[in-house]
């Protein structure tokens, strides 16, 4: 029975992973579990369910028995834009991303039947991006991107060693693989008409890096935790690019260019750097029923400075500069035990964007964010169920400074981007 449930949960999780994903500052997705989402993902010092494999694997040492769970956080991002392609453009353009819901899954198994050594394995998606602009062929930012999808899957097996009744150390391996797809239009240089539609699509090779965690619980009320996931370089050694003339029979410019480049089908390689993640957390239980947690989370986004696309045909080589900066988040979570079976949760997050103004673009118009979350956990015997909701409110960003577009080119539109996201989470766990 136990094996069947474990297999069922993990396969379910893997199936969910095949779908898209999106959101968070930069393109991180910090919502590895529905319960954690309800707590504003202030979970490093608590880490008492399977998502501990992401938030702090040392939490496994303070869990009991075996547990399997599946989560899904459904992310519905919204992006809007109002601005111009360049200063000579006589008309103001608006744009809006398509209404899509991206399931961000998590599937976990944990085991702490031995009081000394606990272990577990989790499948989740800590990075991802999905921005599909409506009417892509007309979208003012189509020369940069009208459809971008990044999906990253982590499989993290980890062990946690309880060195004393109050202290545990954990180590794991983040096994990651990434899918990337970018679509854009290249204009005929003079008229600006769409001439070539290009798609870049690739799967990275598998990347392995360690992760670490520690938990210190000097008494029943206080818990202190820390976690660290190392930075990664996802290597795309055999990505494909397709260059399609928009009007094949009636576009001498596009046909000549594609022909001169050796045809529509091209090969490329690229490296995409993912940041290291560090979280420090402290949780305290007030009285018998109310617990509060605070996390300071730091992302090493400065590693994401550029995306160099190295084509077999050197003429196509290009580098997309991001110049991200290290960023941080302040996360607050509140858990109230309403009854023996029901917990009510809430959270707040201030999320500092790593994206400098010059990098704000149709690929990802990121901004500082304020997140507000609520949720509930219901226990029924060996089963538990939870639901969560998070509202992510991004600040508007206007890439104009001193009356000038920050990036004054013929490709990057300038104006104001706004963003917002609704996250809906559900989770179910089974304790053996």
């Amino acid at each position: 029975m136990q094996k069947r449930i474990i297999c069922t949960l993990l396969v379910t999780g893997l199936l969910i992973l095949s779908s898209g994903s999106a959101l968070a500052s930069g393109f991180s997705i910090y919502e590895a579990g529905s319960k954690a989402t309800a707590l504003g993902c202030a979970f490093t010092a608590t880490a008492d369910d399977g998502s501990a494999l992401f938030y702090n694997a040392a939490g496994l040492s303070f869990m009991t028995g075996s547990r399997a769970e599946v989560n899904a956080v459904f992310v519905a991002p919204q992006f809007k834009f109002s601005g111009k392609l360049n200063k000579s453009d006589p008309t103001t353009s608006t744009g809006e991303a398509e209404s899509k819901v991206y399931p961000v899954p998590g599937a976990y198994y944990t085991n702490n039947n031995n009081n000394k050594l606990a272990f577990g394995v989790g499948v989740y998606a800590p990075f991802g991006l999905g921005v599909v602009w409506q009417d892509g062929a007309e979208w003012v930012g189509r020369r940069i991107s009208h459809d971008v999808q990044i999906q990253t899957v982590y499989v993290t097996p980890a062990i946690s060693l309880k060195l004393s009744d109050s202290f545990a150390l954990a180590a794991g391996v983040d096994i990651a693989q990434q899918e990337l797809e970018l679509k854009k239009y290249t204009p005929e240089p003079a008229t600006g008409e769409n001439a070539i539609h290009s798609t870049i699509k690739g799967s990275s090779s598998i990347n392995l890096t360690p992760s670490l965690g520690l938990m210190f619980r000097p008494n029943e009320k206080l818990s202190i935790g820390a976690m660290y996931h190392f930075k990664k370089t996802m290597k795309f050694d055999d990505a494909d690019a397709t260059l399609d003339p928009v009007a094949p029979g009636d576009d001498p410019w596009g046909n000549t260019l594609v022909g001169g480049l050796g045809g529509s089908e091209q090969k490329l390689t690229s490296d995409l750097n993912l940041p290291d993640i560090m979280s420090l957390g402290i949780a305290y239980t007030f009285g018998e029923k109310f617990k509060a947690e605070f996390n300071y989370v730091r992302f090493g986004w400065s590693t994401f400075d550029k995306l160099a696309l190295n084509f077999e045909n050197d003429a196509l080589d290009q580098t997309i500069h991001f110049n991200y900066e290290d960023s941080w988040q302040l996360r607050f979570g509140f858990d109230y035990q309403a009854s023996e079976k029901l917990n009510l949760m809430a959270g707040y997050v201030y999320d500092k964007t790593p994206q400098p103004l010059v990098a704000v673009s149709p690929l990802l118009p990121d901004s500082d964010r304020n997140d507000y979350s609520i949720g509930a956990l219901y226990k029924a015997g060996k089963w538990d169920f939870n639901v969560s909701y998070m509202l992510v409110v991004g600040d508007e960003r206007t890439n104009i400074e001193d009356g000038e577009p920050v990036r004054n080119t013929t490709d990057y539109p300038f104006g104001t981007y706004s963003s917002l996201a609704n996250l809906f989470g559900v989770g179910v766990g089974y304790n053996f």
């Binding site: 519905a76 919204q78 992006f79 809007k80 834009f81 109002s82 601005g83 111009k84 360049n86 200063k87 000579s88 006589p90 103001t92 608006t94 005929e188 240089p189 003079a190 008229t191 008409e193 001498p252 410019w253 000549t256 260019l257 001169g260 309403a338 009854s339 079976k341 029901l342 009510l344 609520i374 949720g375 509930a376 219901y378 639901v387 909701y389 509202l391 409110v393 508007e396 206007t398 104009i400 009356g403 000038e404 577009p405 004054n408 013929t410 300038f414 104006g415 104001t416 981007y417 706004s418 963003s419 917002l420 609704n422 809906f424």
Partner: protein, 493 residues
């Protein structure tokens, strides 16, 4: 029971919130806070329109060595641009010159052999595409000048067939055959949607959207007559009234098209046409000094001959021509004209002066309209101030009866400012021309430009093109090979 009701109520409330979600308001349009467009917002800083003198034509051909020193390239370099940000239709060695050297053959640039001037190489016509190093560049060149272009061509020609002089250079600079062609009539003002495929030099300039344009056009409208040996207005020279109309259409449309495309008035430098103050036109006395005395059989045009054209040096070397007077117009032997009388020179001078007067008038009109900001560079006056030595043909600085020493070659190369074809400047000459444009630009728009001048002393010209000089051609002295003479006879082709 109470707990259950509380729990259910809370869950229902939570569910309602989940289903509702929140939606995003439209952001306000911030573009009204942006400064109006100015020169720094142009999609490219500089584009050049013109003919061979702008293209970097040198030694009777177009080749990368000369193009690298075209005045627009030198000017662009001083503006901080480079070969990627200021593009030209680069041509590989031996270059592309005349088609007059044989059936299906394309002459390369000329070079000095030690005793004569000869093509550096000759390329079969079906292999000439292999010389075009940037022919598939997917954007318009910044240097759009086409050797042989007239003022009419600048507005209208998009390929060889549509050019006034049936000039094949249009095929690989405007590239209608590669990128397609959609003829947009330039009449009626600025084009509504200029495109790469609207191939004329003017249309491509609008498409490129520069902040600064140099326009040096009209030389072929006048000098075509000079090369024929029988300059006749309306026959082989564009009538001044027609020129003025064509130039007016060009400059007004250029300014109007660019102000519409960019949102601010372009800056346009108009350069006047050259006169006949060029080494190609040899004063009769100098010619007779070079050939060792008066031509015993006289001149077809009579005693009134004032100038002898350069390829005549080859004509007189041909012993078959002994016994014949020097022809006054195009001949089958030298492929071009031989002499110009005082009356014919006056026609050329007066016509050129009329063109320049028309340009001055049109420039004032455009400046008055506010659509463009134009300045004038009087190249004719500028070149007239060069010293006699700077305007002496390199060949005449070589010893007539022996091979020159390397020092003599270098000394002459550093003295003259003209290339071996006697019409087009050499590297250093183009450097001086570039500085003339720079002075004009800096003086006209000091608030926008402070371009440093070209260090002309750093420019060197090697008329041998690296080929070791050969043996002395005993008895003939310095001269031209027949192929070189024919190539020069079609100097703008």
């Amino acid at each position: 029971m109470k707990k259950l009701i509380t729990s259910v109520t809370m869950l229902a409330l939570l569910l309602a919130l989940l289903l509702a979600g929140c939606s995003l308001d439209d952001p306000a349009d911030p573009t009204g806070t942006v400064n109006p467009p100015g020169p720094g917002d142009a999609s490219t800083p500089y584009v050049a329109i013109g003919n061979s003198l702008t293209a970097g034509y040198m030694e009777s051909g177009l080749m990368k060595a000369g193009q690298a020193n075209s005045f627009p390239m030198l000017l662009a370099t001083q503006m901080g641009l480079n070969k990627k940000t200021f593009t030209q239709p680069w041509v590989d060695a031996p270059g592309i010159g005349s088609t007059n050297v044989g059936e299906g053959q394309i002459a390369g640039v000329l070079h000095y052999t030690g005793t004569t001037i000869a093509p550096l190489g000759i390329t079969p016509g079906d292999q000439v595409m292999g010389l075009l190093l940037a022919v598939t560049q997917p954007t318009q060149y910044n240097n759009l000048a086409v050797p042989g272009a007239t003022v009419h061509d600048a507005m209208n020609a998009f390929d060889q067939g549509s050019s006034q002089g049936n000039v094949p250079f249009f095929n690989f600079i405007n590239r209608a055959s590669l990128f397609g062609n959609t003829i947009v009539p330039p009449s009626g003002g600025p084009p509504p949607t200029p495109g790469f495929a609207t191939q004329s030099m003017f249309m491509q300039t609008i498409s490129k959207g520069p902040a600064l344009v140099t326009v040096w056009i009209g030389n072929n409208d006048a000098l075509g007559g000079a090369f024929s040996g029988t300059p006749t207005v309306g026959v082989n020279m564009t009538p001044p009234a027609v020129f003025e109309g064509e130039f007016r259409a060009l400059l007004h449309s250029l300014a109007g098209g660019l102000v519409k495309r960019n949102g601010f008035p372009p800056k346009i430098v108009v350069a006047y046409t050259l006169g006949n103050d060029l080494p190609y036109f040899i004063p009769k006395a100098l010619f007779e000094q070079v050939i060792g005395g008066a031509w015993p059989w006289g001149y077809e045009d009579g005693a009134d001959v004032e100038l002898v054209n350069f390829p005549t040096l080859s004509w007189v070397r041909n012993t078959d021509n002994q016994g014949s007077p020097i022809p006054g117009a195009a001949s089958a032997t030298n492929g071009g004209a031989a002499t110009l009388t005082t009356t014919e020179v006056a026609i050329i001078v007066d016509t050129g002066a009329a063109y320049n007067a028309s340009m001055e008038t049109v420039v004032a009109e455009v400046n008055g309209s506010g659509m463009g900001k134009c300045a004038v560079f009087d190249v004719k006056e500028f070149v007239s101030n060069w010293t006699a030595a700077q305007k002496t043909h390199f060949l005449f600085m070589m010893p007539p009866d022996r091979l020159p020493t390397p020092e003599e070659i270098t000394g002459a190369a550093n003295m003259t400012l003209f290339s071996l074809d006697g019409i087009h400047p050499n590297n250093r000459g183009y450097g001086y021309i570039a500085n003339g444009f720079i002075e004009t630009i800096n003086a006209a728009w000091p608030e926008d430009y402070n371009i440093p001048e070209v260090n002309v002393d750093a420019l060197s010209w090697d008329p041998t093109y690296g080929v070791p000089i050969g043996k002395m051609d005993t008895g003939t002295g310095q001269g031209l090979t027949p192929e070189a003479a024919r190539a020069m006879g079609a100097i703008f082709r």
